[in-house]
């Protein structure tokens, strides 16, 4: 059953357009998130839907009739709004505020009944602030006020709940409490929820569908898995992200990557190339650090779609690719060795080794035999992450016992030490190069 139909609405503040042809529908029991960068029109959309800002074009239908043609009291009996900012100069008590939710249900001169008061207290209890009922709203914290606003909206006994950033002042525990509460009401009582959220992962976790807005238009909408992807988020926010599956609920989980530091971008001296052996997003940080220090990168072999694969490509590295979710083949290994030759060093990140990627280690060994220094990030020790029955550790051992004679293996406790070791190698190379120049 369609409760709200937004049909091609456009709104403007003065001559500044805030919404441009937005269309979607909300059915009974829907839990819909609205996301998008600041100024993309999310709050304006809520105002247009809640009978406050009449669109200049298009219509908002509530239960099939234009919401602006309906009596405000009758609208308020079906649709409640949790505003983002509940600040007031007037010291109403928390209970007073919650009771205002009864306004659309009471006649002009009708007093709140004992049942109304009980109901308001029940809503305060479900939002966890019943103990504050006698406190003034001017004297409680922003998070407590936010929960009082949610209680007031629930006192309206709405069938549709619009919320504008309801969790912005709440700590993570209350964020989950509030979202769980409305999510339960949505499931059990068919409450339709439309919530503006900045937290993409909260949206992904709770919303059945997500509307992504940009510049007053709907950029994408649908299930979280369809909307929350790299391309959409880059287009909407201009941010680089990684999208992984959440280990618990399996929905998309967005990890925001640091913006490249503009101060670190200009590379006065072209440093050597470092080949990184990573996988499973374990080398993401290391590659970022190397890139920030002006090294050029190559990496591999990496499965297409792997976290390190996307990070390496973002940093402009040459990547030796393997198909998604498949073991590294003989030919991948050959290409990998070719990529390693000519690099300043090969860095073996703190990654586990199994049969699937053992060939990467063998490639590193091959390169080391050919004189490319191998830097190993120890972490908890290679033995702890060897799932090849000791073959990986043995291969490294063999390499180390042959040190000298052009073979170098440098063991480092962590990423930072590995970067320092690479910087040392770069200095050595520089000394050789300038020494050669003098001859």
């Amino acid at each position: 059953m369609i409760r709200i139909a937004v049909n091609g609405i456009s709104c403007a503040y003065g001559c500044f357009p805030a919404l441009d042809g937005v269309t979607f529908e909300i059915a009974r029991g829907d839990f819909t998130g609205i996301i998008g960068p600041n100024g993309s029109g999310k709050s304006t959309l809520l105002r247009a839907m809640s009978r406050v800002l009449k669109p200049s074009r298009g219509t908002v239908l509530l239960d099939g009739r234009d919401v602006y043609a309906q009596d405000p009291r009758s609208v308020a009996r079906r649709l409640a709004v949790v505003e983002n900012d509940g600040r007031s100069e007037f010291g109403f008590t928390v209970l007073d505020l919650a009771l205002m939710g009864r306004l659309p249900h009471l006649g002009r001169f009708q007093r709140e009944s004992a049942a109304d008061v009980e109901m308001a207290r029940g809503c305060l209890e479900s939002t966890g602030i019943l103990h504050l009922e006698g406190r003034k709203i001017t004297e409680i914290s922003a998070g407590e006020r936010q929960r009082a606003l949610i209680a007031r909206a629930l006192v309206q006994e709405p069938e549709i709940l619009l919320m504008d950033e309801p969790t912005s002042f709440l700590d993570i525990s209350y964020q989950i409490d509030v979202m769980d509460l409305v999510s339960r009401l949505s499931r059990e009582k068919g409450l339709s929820v439309v919530v503006v959220l900045h937290d993409l992962n909260l949206a992904s976790q709770y919303c059945g569908s997500i509307i992504l807005m940009k510049d007053g238009r709907v950029l994408a909408s649908g299930a979280p898995g369809d909307v929350l992807n790299q391309a959409n988020i880059r287009e909407a926010y201009g941010s680089e992200v990684m999208v992984v599956r959440h280990p618990v609920h399996g929905r998309p989980h967005v990890i925001v990557l640091p913006k490249p530091d503009p101060a670190a971008r200009p590379r006065p001296v072209e440093k050597g190339r470092i080949h990184v052996i990573g996988g499973g997003a374990m080398a993401t940080r290391l590659m970022g650090m190397l890139s920030a220090r002006g090294f050029s990168l190559s990496a591999g072999a990496l499965n297409v779609g792997d976290g390190d694969w996307s990070e390496a490509r973002r940093l402009g590295a040459t990547v030796v690719e393997a198909p998604p979710f498949s073991p590294v083949t003989e030919s991948d290994m050959k290409r990998n060795v070719e990529a390693m030759v000519g690099s300043l060093a090969v860095v073996l990140a703190n990654i586990p080794f199994g049969p699937g990627n053992l060939r990467n280690l063998e490639a590193a060994a091959e390169a080391a035999w050919r004189g490319i220094p191998l830097v190993i990030v120890e972490g908890d020790g290679v033995a702890c992450r060897d799932y090849t029955g000791g073959r990986a550790a043995a291969s490294l051992q063999r390499l180390e016992s042959a040190q000298g004679d052009g073979i170098r293996v440098i063991r480092c406790p962590d990423d930072e030490a590995a970067v320092l070791a690479v910087e040392n190698l770069e200095r050595e190379r520089g000394a050789v190069v300038s020494g050669e120049g003098r001859d």
Binding site: F90, G91, M100, L103, R108, R145
Partner: protein, 341 residues
């Protein structure tokens, strides 16, 4: 909570009775409370004491009470509508508009009378209404007025109107004295006709504001929130602002400019509860008490001379107001509910 509100109303009501009694006793001729009660109960016999009491002091005290409560209710309404606990009829220019109307009535002396009403209150109320119209028009963009722009427009209108009053008074120098007498404000000219003239406006204004008290509660949370709670915001806002203009216009026309009552009394009553179903009656009572007492003081400081009542209210209200607003600022800075909260 409800008990505290009821008790406050009761206390204020008793305080009003006591201050009326006290005010009836004070003046150039001292009258004992017993004599007052006797005269009030028996009605107009021909004794000189009863004459002073019933023909001079009683209408004066009643006019003071009506004026005080009108100003206080007007202040309570405007503070709520403009979401600013420091707003009042002066700040948004309504008082100045009413004054200009009254001054024009005094100077032009037009032979106008509608339904038994003299030119002064009619002009005064017209001035208040016109000012509100202009201020609302000036401050709204596409039908909506932000609080800040309304207050700014009010201050500008107030300055402009004050200049016009000065110019008019200057041009018609022959009537300066009358204008001056009226502007000082006070109740020395109070007669029963004036009481009967002000009373209907006062009753109508209070009834209207009580009917919209709950709308006013919602409006203090912001217009969007009020609309979300099912309030017809344009209607409620218009009714309330026009009610405030009516109350201010009638108070100014009958008693001149009396400051601070409208600003301070709702502020004090809000300490008990900001719920307008309580705030409007309690402000009405408190405003009446304050004005009746101020009038009693101005009659008794150096009899038989009188001090203008506006001076007393400003002398007491001014510092009190500064104290209140500084306290609010301190609370706002340190309390969790303040601007930083």
């Amino acid at each position: 909570m409800k008990g505290r509100r009821g008790a406050t109303i009761l206390i204020l009501f008793v305080a009003l009775l006591l201050s009326v009694l006290l005010s009836l006793c004070t003046g150039a001729v001292g009258i004992s409370p017993a004599e007052v009660v006797t005269a009030l109960v028996r009605g107009g016999d021909s004794s000189p004491v009863a004459g002073i009491l019933l023909d001079i002091r009683l209408p004066r005290v009643l006019l003071a009470a009506i004026t005080g409560s009108s100003l206080a209710v007007s202040g309570a309404i405007l503070q709520g509508v403009f979401m600013n606990p420091l707003a009042d009829p002066y700040v948004i220019g309504v008082s100045s508009g009413a004054s200009l109307g009254a001054v024009l009535a005094i100077i032009l002396h037009p032979p106008v009378a509608v339904a038994g009403l003299g030119a002064l209150p009619l002009f005064s109320m017209a001035g208040a209404f016109l000012t509100i119209l202009v201020v609302q028009r000036l401050s709204s963009v596409e039908g909506r007025a932000s609080v800040m722009s309304l207050l700014l427009a009010g201050v500008a209108a107030s300055a402009f109107l004050t200049a016009v009053i000065s110019a008019v008074t200057y041009l018609f120098g022959n009537r300066v004295h009358q204008v001056w007498l009226w502007m000082i404000g006070g109740f020395s000219h109070a007669r029963w006709e004036l009481v009967m003239m002000a009373l209907p406006y006062s009753i109508a204004g209070m009834a209207c504001s009580m009917a919209f008290a709950r709308d006013l509660n919602a409006l203090t949370l912001g217009e969007d929130t009020a609309a979300h709670l099912g309030i017809n915001v344009p209607l409620a806002r218009n009714v309330l602002v026009w009610t405030a203009a009516l109350l201010t216009g009638s108070a100014v026309s009958s008693s001149g400019m009396i400051g601070f009552v409208g600003m301070v009394t709702p502020h004090v009553c809000r300490i008990v509860s900001p719920d307008h179903r309580f705030l409007i009656p309690s402000s009405a009572l408190a405003g009446a008490v304050a004005t009746v007492l101020a009038d009693a003081v101005c009659r008794s400081v150096m009899p038989p001379q009188e001090i203008p009542v506006g001076i007393i209210t400003a002398l007491v209200g001014g510092p009190f107001f500064v104290y209140l607003s500084r306290r609010a600022q301190r609370a706002g800075r340190s309390g969790p509910g303040g601007v930083m909260g």
